[in-house]
Symmetry: D2
Subunit: 433 residues, 4 copies
């Protein structure tokens, strides 16, 4: 890993050491980071959409720009004229309050605007936002708030650019390489079980730093005695589940999970292929062997849950996870440039619960519902989080595709239980008997 990090030094510099109060600087760095993530792509790759849930890189580039244009420029820039009259229609994701929008599954059909035009769009909006940030101080706090939201939104799409292009490349029999990285080596530490006592805890975001509305309000919750695995579940452990017939035994699966397994013919994590040379997997560095000590990744909630049941354990609730996550932020993030989870904990990760952040998101047992007293934002931004609070499960932590400055202990990621294309893995919990 150190090697990998070093060779990507210029790459990883960009975001995460900027002071929070230098918003202009953060704006430039984060915006540039998005474009750097697209540098390895051919023009042809920018339009790829390999399933309705993913979006083409070009769409991500334009949509994040539209976000600043719509929620910042058109509100605070007097007499602002949109860059292009159709872009609001094309690059709105799901904000009903903003108007109609292009059908999500057909984002890959937009060969125009071209990549060059989209970059021109970004330049133009970047300049206008910079001007706004450096301009007169009227309504300053609102501008700062919305720009900060836009940057956090942009970081979410940085992760999606990686997961979406991985999905698209994995469909291509030519197995394109997004970026060559040296294969990592190292051993996973042995599992230890950390005990946490029952009690009333406080969870949710606090403090002046940015958080999404779904992390609020901070509130009290009751947890019962529990054990949490000190590390992530590994490929080798997951292969033991497979070898024990995990994918053939309905009794360890949720009913909907078993149906999904059968409909989609799941027999291993996404991107795994059995070959005469053993299990291989598609990664952003191309075709690689499955390494036993690495954290298992690209499993659905259903698989994580089935694995846990088979292992006579369970997944933690989000309150349990957050309670355990008091330790300092450490891990292998996007900034490290691995784009793949690693076996060995990060050098700054002092445990006792390792790899809470980075490497892979961790499915929890908690359905995504509002916190007690939750209030969505007013207006169109009220559509950011609240309206998805059904039929999804919470994931906690961060992954190897998450920018370090985007991670925090109260962060609530969420995906439908059948989603597999995120860097999502497993950390077990257990009741204390």
């Amino acid at each position: 890993m150190p090697m990998a990090t070093e060779t990507l030094a210029d790459y990883s510099l960009s975001i995460d050491r900027s002071p929070q109060n230098d918003l202009t600087g953060r704006f430039r760095r984060i915006r540039r980071q998005t474009e750097e993530l697209c540098r390895p792509l051919a023009i042809e790759d920018y339009g790829l959409q390999s399933m309705p849930e993913t979006s083409p890189p070009k769409w991500h580039l334009a949509h994040t720009t539209w976000f600043f244009e719509t929620f910042l420029l058109s509100r605070f820039h007097d007499g602002y004229r949109p860059f292009h009259p159709e872009f609001s229609f094309l690059f709105n994701s799901y904000y009903n309050a903003v108007g109609p929008r292009w059908a999500r599954p057909e984002r890959g059909l937009l060969s125009r605007p071209t990549v060059e035009e989209v970059y021109r769009y970004r330049r133009s909006i970047d300049d206008e936002v910079s001007e706004l940030l450096n301009g007169p101080k009227g309504r300053r706090s609102e501008v700062v708030e919305l720009c900060t939201l836009g940057l956090n939104h942009e970081q979410q799409h940085q992760e999606l650019i990686l997961t979406d292009i991985k999905h698209a490349f994995a469909k291509n029999p030519l197995r394109p390489v997004y970026r060559e990285t040296p294969a990592a080596r190292g051993d996973a530490p042995p599992v230890s079980w950390i005990r946490f006592p029952q009690g009333i805890v406080e969870i949710g975001h606090q403090g002046p730093e940015f958080a999404f509305d779904n992390e609020l309000p901070r509130h009290r919750a009751l947890v019962h005695d529990y054990l949490l695995a000190g590390r992530l579940t590994t490929n080798a452990e997951y292969q033991a589940f497979m070898a024990a017939g995990g994918y053939q035994r309905p009794e360890v699966w949720l009913s909907d999970g078993w149906a999904a397994k059968q409909t989609n013919d799941w027999n291993a994590p996404l991107y795994w292929h059995e070959t005469p040379d053993g299990w291989m997997q598609m990664t952003l560095a191309g075709w690689r062997p499955v390494v036993g000590d690495e954290p298992v990744c690209h499993v659905s909630y259903y698989e994580a849950d089935a694995y846990a049941r088979w292992a006579q354990a369970r997944l933690p609730t989000e309150a349990e996870w957050e309670t355990a996550a008091g330790q300092p932020l450490a891990g292998h993030f996007l900034d490290a440039g691995n784009f793949h989870p690693l076996a060995t904990p990060a050098s700054d990760d002092s445990g006792p619960v390792y790899a809470l952040y980075g490497d892979v998101w961790q499915w929890t047992a908690s359905p995504y519902v509002p916190y007690p007293g939750y209030q969505p934002a007013a207006g169109a931004l009220g559509e950011y989080n609240g309206k998805f609070m059904c039929n999804q499960m919470v994931l906690r932590g961060a992954s190897c595709a998450t920018p370090r400055s985007h991670a925090r202990s109260s962060y609530r990621n969420f995906f439908p239980p059948e989603a597999r294309w995120q860097f999502a893995g497993i950390r077990l919990a257990k009741d204390v008997k």
Copy 2:
């Protein structure tokens, strides 16, 4: 109501006054009750399956019988030979551990066995179960436990016979009447909001009486200060939501809810039709006007949630609901023979929260997940509840189609958020500000 109840006197006698320790008596009465519920049907109706989620009455009759045969007779009756070698294949619902099964959406294709043969099957199994119950006392407690489970299972199917035949009849332009009942009259009481304080409460079943495994273990939970509506939401209140454009305003809907609304073209509760004479609805007594004071019914979780948001309230969590449900069991149950929710509370319902039970199930804001420390039963019966704990929402209370002896405060009913064919309605809650 009194009238209706009187004319159905013989009908409503059967179940709920039997002493818990007279298992043989309960067995006969509950089994007979199921058949009485089918008495109004023509032979032709027994085979109807109007969507994959419903089942034909004949299938309910046979499946509940298969349950006793499989989990009781074939375990405790030495040398038991199945009534018919194919019935286990035909009438298994979802128990993977029992073996393969007939595809659920094709239950309506089984014209054979005939209705008469299925009744013969019931007779045969009833006789054998009675014999077993009256037989030698070996393994007595297991027999009692499984028979009790079978009876509770049978009562669940009694409710489904009614909801499923209602769905099928509503599809028929001839609008068949299941059973003529006099139209009920009466006013809904005004809404009051009952306040409950924050604190640690205990929820879940306790005591020696029967409960399903999903009601266990009894455990502590934290509730925050809240208000609970003293009565159910009425049709008139729901019509105000409709008149205010509730079905045209995505901002009050969950994202998946809005998608369901659009896909299915929902513009009113299920079974409602706008006519030149106003809103009409299909009921088990045929075509009837929508009555403003009656509780709104046959809404999905999505509609309940959208209504609540529009009404500046929310749905209660199941812990909140159960905390409020300490009062004695009262309400309009299946036994009353209304088969439709009524405006006026039951005569034995002394509040302060009215109609907690009977009339309509109440959607809660709680996804259906296991209680802390939950353990499913061993073997095939472990498939009864646990494996459905994903993608469903909890409903509490009971409905006008629920046998009274089947209702209790800890009961957890559950359906997918888009389900509308159950007698499901709305009780609001609010945060205390």
Copy 3:
């Protein structure tokens, strides 16, 4: 066969010896015949619809009655009031000119009207039609014409009652028997190839007898030299195709045929099942072995075409078939009560081309298109045939489910190329080199 015919003596008497000019007699006999075909059914069977292309027996009974009501009674009976105001909606099949109609795939959802009500409907219409036929002679020729059409229409539905109930019963793992018939014995004659010379032939209906509009006008057609197989393709011959990998070799299939084979997982004719005891098949007499000398049946056009290509032959065009069909009508029809194709030609079948009629319909190579100069009837009856002249293939002859008096050499049956539930088989042709 003789035995079978004898036991069905009363059964087979009804239709085909009635003089053409005794319309009242024919009306009664054909109408009664339809009901006799339903006699073996349980009430529960009357509502079965096992796929969108089939209809429940009850629907056939009602729809054929509706045909007389709509096209005869409501036109010629002054002040006629429909038997039931909704029946026109429920039992219209596809006549747009008559008004809207109940969705075809949901015919199985109509438990009401009950079977008894439908028989009452038949009684009522039968009485009124008889009265009309025996009434004053005004507009006599129109009445005769439409009544005759209605009877031919009824005979078409007689065949469908059998093919549709066979399809439904075959779905039931209990394998219901429609009617026990003794297994037939006998050998297929050897194949001979009959040569027909090129030339201009006349095809299409001529003469005063009834024919459907699609058999008109009689017209000249050019045929080239060809050979026609003297008998039908047998199961044994088809099994040779299967043994030679016929279902695994795309090169002998049409492209759409291969797609249908793969989508539907065809590996044998419909109703065939491979068992440890060899190939078995579902018949109207229940579960029977596949008999090598019997004509192959329940194959799609795609399978017939692939078989022919594999056998280095082809299917005949309809002009070729009709040219060869000059010989007298003979064969095993519905009236014989076999309900299954037989190996041995009928006793009155004197060749040289055997089994042209009866046993199985024969797929031709001709797409179903209008004859030169074709004119559909005026009004609603113009929808009888012409609007289906696309995407279907012509079948010629008749089957074991066709009433004898319904068969003729100019008859054009038609089904989509993927249809398999009709009694349809194969007769080969060849070019003369």
Copy 4:
């Protein structure tokens, strides 16, 4: 047009004046023509696939190259090593005999190989084919035959590049322009009806020039007296059909046509949009008004057939069409660079039946079936035509996207009856009464 033709002078020179015996020259010119057709595209456009029936331009470029590689180089070039081991998998269209292939609906997911790589592929194969053509004369006639087939195949894909990119651009709300062309002006001539007598005619290809196997063998056919419209149906005529409720009257439609109309919500030809300024249409030159005198285009067979029935006429059979097509080849072809049908006949078109070729393909009433005595080619090339002879209708003539040297009177084009994205229009016929 003259203007348009002039500005495209260099463009239109390339193909059609090359002597048939200069195969090397033709090879270079036709291959270059394909690439010239792609010159107006952005890199981003090369990957577009807007429905399963269309293919991305890049795929067309590669597939036509694969055709030469597979059927020419790998057969006649000793020790030939494929350009890339995966390309046969990626760029095989439907040849089962060649092996498995990439799923057709997912051709748009192949961002790699890049456009540049595909052009490199073309260069390499072009060089090798040229070498082969200029090489030793062994097996010369086979090489010539297959190369000629490959060039005709390439020309088919030239047309598809245009129709497919038009379909994709029409989906984009930015309405990209493939190529600016001046709007054409001119009037359609009045309709005259040309009478043709009954008799035995000969149709099918004859002579030494290239023809596809489906144009053979030349054979005798019988036609009856008929009238053929001297020109194509115009937009104005078609608009009269629309104004008369053509899209609301099921009685003029085939049953499958009406179902397609309803499923797809057809209310006008493909690419037409009703606007406050009247009917507009998407063309390869962008957004243009619908011009009344131009031939109607982008209609399905179903619409052509419904229009004909409404107009009290019918579509011609292919024998009728070919009989009338004895006049010299003339019309507006791809080479003219209009990429859109024109109102005025081509300057070299001397009638009496105008615009038989060029402008739009003409739907016939003939299902696509083999000619009497048809034999497909041996081996993989036997899959070229024969296996599609079901569920498709024949179109005759040529369109504004067909290379002139690819058109001939015996040419049989074919598409499913619901296809609308080809340049397909209407020429009427009538029976002589």
